[in-house]
Assembly symmetry: C2
Homo-oligomer: 634 residues x 2
């Protein structure tokens, strides 16, 4: 039996962190100034907000969709995080207005759901498998908590508490209650947040019930669908394994392989990890560890994208990582960040923070355009020119998901334990962390991810002995560390991927970390059939791609010689400022091929200079092809 780490970390809240970072601050600004208003506009124009008026009637146009509540809730959550770090009376007012509308939609008994109030009244809780009812509730709860924590206003919090109380009265093992759970996990992690915000243990227990009950026999969805079909029956018909699709194929503690819909999986694992921490249930952590290995060692794209096919919006089989048809939903990479963030508090191992970094710098922010107004739902690793971000989606989960993550990014940088400060992510700015009753200031300076030189400055009112942990990223093979300009031996101070400095710190102490950041060529496990003989370019945490805009139309003709000379150059005018990589590549000739599709003569090649850009920045210029994995020529 795994012994649960008693010294669980606590993340440092984003409200104690100021980000002042050349890479992230402009993104957060765009998120605040463009994305959040854009999403409000979309929610408003598509009727999602006014749907809370519950005045839709059968026969009217624009029937409310089962997901609509969650889109608005995630927008409120994003807006709230933004208000916490950047007060904005106008946005504050807008949020209040929307909350008022939501509150007005709450039924006497606490129930709150647009679709089942106006489209299918009287049908509450009859389609847990497909209809996303508890999922929407979960997002409303997350919004209520975020709004309360950002503004200290209890308006939405009280609404969602009342709703959660109602849900608690409906679901459970007690006589007369429904012994069900949601087809799309989400409420489980939301209820833990609500527990943290309110201290009400019933919410934690309800979350635990949902997690524990999942996959038990008799199987709830089997019973539910015995005499009825679900909202997505026509889609579900094409699923090979419906129970795996929503991870209810086994009780969660018996699960070892990531299966099914990837966002559902991530949200569930997030709740499992957090419950493990809250309850000390090592069996949940063990399941998480097995699932983590299976995901990260066999089923994750190099960008931190997950989900190999759009068919089930999820996992297929080990090492199946197709490039053009990768699903890699933005929401799934965000869920990966959530889950790893919870794991990191349980076990301070750099692999979790590495996974967060991989996703953040690649498969998450690829989900939004540089101007903040267009979004990828799926994030393919190659395109023949037909994949583009869109302003909105009928099922609009991804846009507000990335908005809420960017608005709360500060919360992913640091953790603390009673005696330690841990730096997981390298993002410039400052944090205030209470250690031994003292508000310790820690400042980060650098030009990450373009440069590996980082400086940390401590601000203390009085000297104190505590530990400082700095992550040595998995991609980094050589690092140097100095404390107050004196070299420290990193290797002798390593602890699960972090360099650990325990000493008497004083005000003005300077720590310098130098992470060597050469351009690397990366290879996939030989079982990834799509990438055999291919290589990807990575520098620091940034995964690169080649795009037609900088190169040629037919990118598949480009090959990277084994010994290709690659050069990194910062180009401030390119894509908001990026380190681009120039390389001596080769390109296949086609001039002898005019009259053949197949020949016994091998295609010849000629030298060709390629330009690679960070993957996250693709599809921000003219339309064209893109690929991350490039054929390698020996």
């Amino acid at each position: 039996m795994h012994v649960l780490n008693q010294n669980r970390l606590r993340p440092v809240s984003f409200s104690n962190v100021v980000i002042n970072d050349a890479f992230w601050s402009p993104r957060i600004k765009v998120n605040r100034e463009q994305t959040i208003p854009h999403q409000y506009k979309q929610c408003k124009e598509t009727g999602r907000i006014d749907a809370f008026k519950l005045d839709w009637k059968q026969g009217m146009d624009n029937e409310p969709h089962i997901f609509w509540d969650s889109d608005v809730a995630k927008w409120i959550e994003a807006a709230s995080y933004s208000l916490a770090t950047h007060p904005d009376p106008e946005l504050d007012r807008l949020v209040d207005e929307v909350i008022e509308l939501i509150a007005s939609a709450q039924q006497e008994d606490g129930y709150l759901n647009i679709y089942f109030s106006v489209v299918k009244p009287g049908m509450r809780w009859t389609d847990l498998r497909d209809a996303h009812e508890l999922y929407c509730a979960g997002h409303l709860i997350e919004a209520g908590v975020a709004h309360y924590e950002a503004t200290r206003k209890r308006t939405l919090l009280e609404v969602v508490c009342k709703y959660a109380d109602h849900i608690d009265s409906v679901f459970g093992r007690e006589e007369g209650k429904l012994r069900g759970y949601c087809g799309h996990q989400e409420i489980e992690l939301a209820l833990i947040k609500l527990y943290h915000a309110t201290g009400e243990e019933r919410y934690l227990k309800l979350s635990q019930y949902f997690i524990d009950e999942r996959g038990q026999k008799p199987h709830y969805f089997e019973l539910e669908k015995k005499d009825s079909t679900g909202y997505f029956e026509d889609i579900m018909r094409y699923m090979d394994n419906l129970k795996e699709y929503n991870q209810s194929h086994k009780p969660v503690r018996e699960q070892s392989k990531v299966v099914g819909h990837s966002v559902r999986a991530m949200y569930m694992y997030t709740a499992m990890a957090e419950l493990a921490g809250e309850t000390g249930d090592a069996s949940l952590l063990e399941a998480c560890e097995r699932l983590w290995e299976h995901l990260h060692l066999k089923n994750m794209f190099i960008t931190g994208g997950i989900g190999s096919t759009g068919k089930n919006e999820g996992f297929t089989f080990d090492y199946d990582l197709p490039n053009e048809t990768s699903y890699a939903e933005t929401c799934a990479s965000i869920g990966l960040v959530f889950w790893n963030h919870r794991m990191l508090q349980l076990e301070c191992e750099s692999k979790y923070a590495d996974a967060i970094e991989r996703a953040l710098f690649n498969g998450v922010i690829s989900g939004v355009s540089l101007d903040g107004k267009k979004f990828f739902y799926a994030n393919p690793l190659a395109s023949v020119g037909d994949r583009h971000r869109k302003e909105w989606f009928g099922c609009a989960c991804c846009p507000p998901n990335i908005a809420r993550l960017l608005a709360s990014l500060g919360g992913y940088i640091y953790s603390q334990s009673p005696d330690d400060i841990i730096v997981h992510q390298y993002i410039e700015g400052e944090a205030i962390i209470n250690i031994h009753g003292q508000q310790v200031k820690i400042g980060q300076k650098g030009n990450y991810p373009w440069d590996g030189h980082l400086t940390f400055l401590l601000g203390l009112e009085h000297e104190d002995k505590f530990g400082l942990k700095l992550r040595i990223p998995g991609w980094c093979k050589n690092a140097e560390l100095k404390v107050n300009h004196e070299r420290v031996n990193i290797l002798q101070n390593m602890d699960k991927g972090y360099v650990y400095l325990e000493r008497l710190w004083k005000d003005g102490d300077i720590i310098e970390l130098d992470l060597s950041m050469p351009i690397e060529k990366v290879y996939s496990h030989p079982n990834v059939r799509q990438n055999v003989h291919h290589t990807a370019i990575q520098r620091g945490p940034i995964v690169y791609c080649i795009e037609s805009a900088d190169n040629m139309e037919h990118l598949q003709r480009v090959m990277l010689p084994n010994d290709a000379n690659l050069t990194a150059i910062y180009d401030e005018s390119l894509l908001g400022g990026v380190v681009k990589i120039l390389g001596d590549a080769e390109v296949l000739d086609s001039h002898q091929w005019e009259n053949s599709l197949y020949r016994t003569e091998k295609p010849t090649s000629r030298p060709y200079q390629i330009t690679a850009i960070p993957y996250y920045a693709w599809d921000n210029r003219e339309s064209g092809q893109m690929r991350v994995w490039i054929p390698e020529k020996e």
Copy 2:
């Protein structure tokens, strides 16, 4: 303006050809003894045959499907061809019985269609785009002609003439007629066959009307679907271009690119080519030539498979030839054979016969298992182990299509003109061809496709001067020819890919053709992004694949070194007797990869002996992976 060749060839009918070939005869036997009875059983058990009783009523199970008539018709066609070369009283009786049932389903006015008689009575000709009504008529007509030609019985022929007369009274440009055409081309080519069988010019004209009217404005399907939806509306919604899907986006003479559903395209081009020959309409031939180039130079798999995606069961964009998801429908490759066979009679160029050979030996016969009872609908070029032939399909077009092709294979071997005999395909046996009033016998001997040595023996009652053309296959780089043991210079006698021997022939003349048949490594055009850095093995007309059954589970790890030593060995115990290819390959190691999915160290490799088998024979043993294109190591 292209000048249409005045000396159009005539194919030598399969009834004048005896096949006695080590490769094909066992297949034709299996087709006769297993496949045709198996398909009768399937048609019977699924209710397709009894549906002609028209006793299905609303509310009953097993609602007749819009394709059912065509499945039974194609079975009759296959059975008839078989009867022509292998009389079988029992089969003859069975065919008569089915024909009697079909005849009983014919309405007073000649109309004959199960679905629109019992499921949608009163709705005749209201859904030409989707409902396959004229398509089914076309297959009934082909069956009627085949049955008549095989047995000289007029039972079904008269039924279909009456039906064709009815169709002729309904469709056309005359006042009061419907100015429509079928969403799934087929009747066009069938009506030309009916014209040939009966001499009735109205059938030719009706075919021409359908071809000429297609894609004209106002667009018939636009008018038809103004106030109604089609049978496949839910599928059609996902089509990017509905008019391209059924090749009605432009008048046929203006078409230059193969688009849409590949079987529809092939059947249409077949009719266009034949009409060009019948009417001397060079503009139709020119369109065919443009389309031919576009298909064969940019959109054909190496197996002769066509159709790059299941989405539209058809074409996507140039050079998009995915391996695992290739559609390559068996019917489409058969349609490719039909079309090329018509082109070959118009222009005796080896490229057409080469295309037939490529499809026949690879993507067509891969469609049926060695035991004759299981069928591929799609013929992928790679499989991760999940693709298997099935006994039958809800939409069962492919199984009887391959049965009718195999039963009439003799018709694809020879053509003649008044003064020439042309040998297109190398299949052992004998043909009787009337030249200058004399029944010339031509015998073929050899062990094709395993061996390139071929012997032709002429049998004449008296000496005569005529031409003999033998195809030098496109895959062959060295050939030798002897007439009566005397070497003939091939190069000086080449005519569009055929060696042409015009002389005074006498009884007993022997022609020996030696086609050098080394193992070749084949490469794709550099624009085929799926095959960059990959090679396929081909020997003679046979495309090879590697299968897990002979090799390892994870085939993607196999690489073929540039200078790999490859050896061809005939193995009579393998897959009914094949030349297998052994090769010194390499295989990627994974033992350093236990804990990584991505690394900066390139995977190492070790020597590995591979066995390749003919592509057509894959998936006849235990389940496993398969691939045609193998990564090449320089």
